[in-house]
Symmetry: C2
Subunit: 209 residues, 2 copies
Amino acid sequence: MSIPVKSKMATQARLSSETRQTQIIETVIALAARQSPGQITTQEIANAIGFTQGALFRHFPSKEAVWLAAIDWVEENLLSAMESAAKNTASPIDGLQAVFFSHIDFVMARPGVPRLIFNELQQPADSAIKAAVRKLLQRYRKLVTGLIEAAAVCGEVDRSIDAIAATTLFLGSIQGLVMQSMVADNVPAMHKTAEKIFPLFLRSLKESA
Amino acid sequence: MSIPVKSKMATQARLSSETRQTQIIETVIALAARQSPGQITTQEIANAIGFTQGALFRHFPSKEAVWLAAIDWVEENLLSAMESAAKNTASPIDGLQAVFFSHIDFVMARPGVPRLIFNELQQPADSAIKAAVRKLLQRYRKLVTGLIEAAAVCGEVDRSIDAIAATTLFLGSIQGLVMQSMVADNVPAMHKTAEKIFPLFLRSLKESA
DNA sequence: AAAGTAAGTAATTAATTGCTAACTAGTGTA
DNA sequence: TACACTAGTTAGCAATTAATTACTTACTTT
C-alpha cells in the first residue's frame, strides 16, 4: 500500500561507465588548468560534467582512483606522443628536438597536466599516486637518455657526456619553461620561449673547446 | 554565585608573539619537507609546536597570513644568501656558480622550501600568495640575469647570449635537480648531481664552434 | 512484455577544518 | 600590590568534503 512518490529528478543522459570515466579524467585535467589540483573536489568535477556528486562514485571507487586514472592518462598520451615523435626523425639530435617540442605543444594544449604532476609529486613517498608519477618519469627519462647516448655514439654530441645528468638538464629546461608560464600566467608565450631554450640546451651537449 | 571551575590547563610556556611567529614559520617549512604544503593544517602546526590550535591565531590573523609570512621568510633568507654569495666572487661566472650552489645547499638544508614555492605557484592568478611568489622569483631572475650579462660584457661567455632565456635555463636546471630529488626521495644525492649539472649549464653559455 | 542491470538522483553522514569567543593565567610596570 | 596586557586553554560553530545509501529510471536481453 505504499504510495509512489512523484519524482522531480531531471535525470542526466545515461552514458556508459567507460565514457564517464574518460569524461571525468578530461574534466579533472581541464579544471587543473585553472586551479590547484589539490583543491579540486568531487562536487566540482560533477558540476562541470552536469552530474550529481554521488554519480561520480558509480564510475570510480574513490577520489584517489580518479587521480591514479588521470596520471595513467597522462602517461598514455604524453609519453606515446613523444615516443612516436622521436621515431619519425633522421637523427638522435632531431629526435631530442622532436621530444622537446612535442612535450611543449602537449602542455600548451593541456596546461593542467604539469600542475597535476607537480602536485602529485608532493604526495608522501609511499603513496600509490607518487609511485605512478615515478613510473611515468622513469619512462620519460629512459626515452631521453637513450637519445642522448645514441647521439654520443654517432658523434653528434660530446662522447664523454654524462647522459643521466644531461637528461636531468633536459627535463629541467622544460620545467623552467613551464614554471615561467605558470608565474606569468602566459601559456601562449611558451612556444616562442622554447625556441630560445632548446638551442641553449643543445650547446651544453656539444664538445667543449 | 557562580562556582569557579578548576582549570585543567597545562599551559604552555608563554613566549612573545614575535618568537612564536618565527617558530610557526619554521614549523611550516619543516612539515612541508614531508608532506604536501596544501595539506598542512593549523592543527598540525600547533601539534608540532606543542600548542593548542587556537593559540596559533594569537599570532597570525589567518592561515593565509602564515603562508604569506613563510614566503617572505624564504625570500629574506634564500635570496639574501644567494646575493651575498654572488658578491664574494672574483668574476660573474664565479658568481653564477656561487648562486647555483648556495641555492642547492639551501634546499638541501630545507627541503620544504621548493615544495612550498611549487605549491603556491598553483594558486589562482589573482591571489596575494601568488603575487608574493612572483615577487620572489622576479628578484631571483634579476640577480641571475645581471650576472650573465656581466659575464657577456667580460667576454666570459658568448656575447650574443640571450640572458633572459639563459636565466630560465639556469632556474630550470635547479628545478630539474629538485624534481629529481623529490621523485627519488633522495635529497642527500643533490649536491653530487649538482656538480654534474652546473658544468653542463655553463657550456650552454659558451661560444659555439 | 518481463526481468535484470547499470547509471542516475537526493539526502545524509562522519570527519575535518579554519576561525572565534569566553575564560584563565603569567609578566611587567606604575 | 594592583592592574593592564598578552598569551594560553577549552569548547564549539559553520562550512566543506568524500563517501554511502535507498530509491528511481533508462536501456538491453530474452
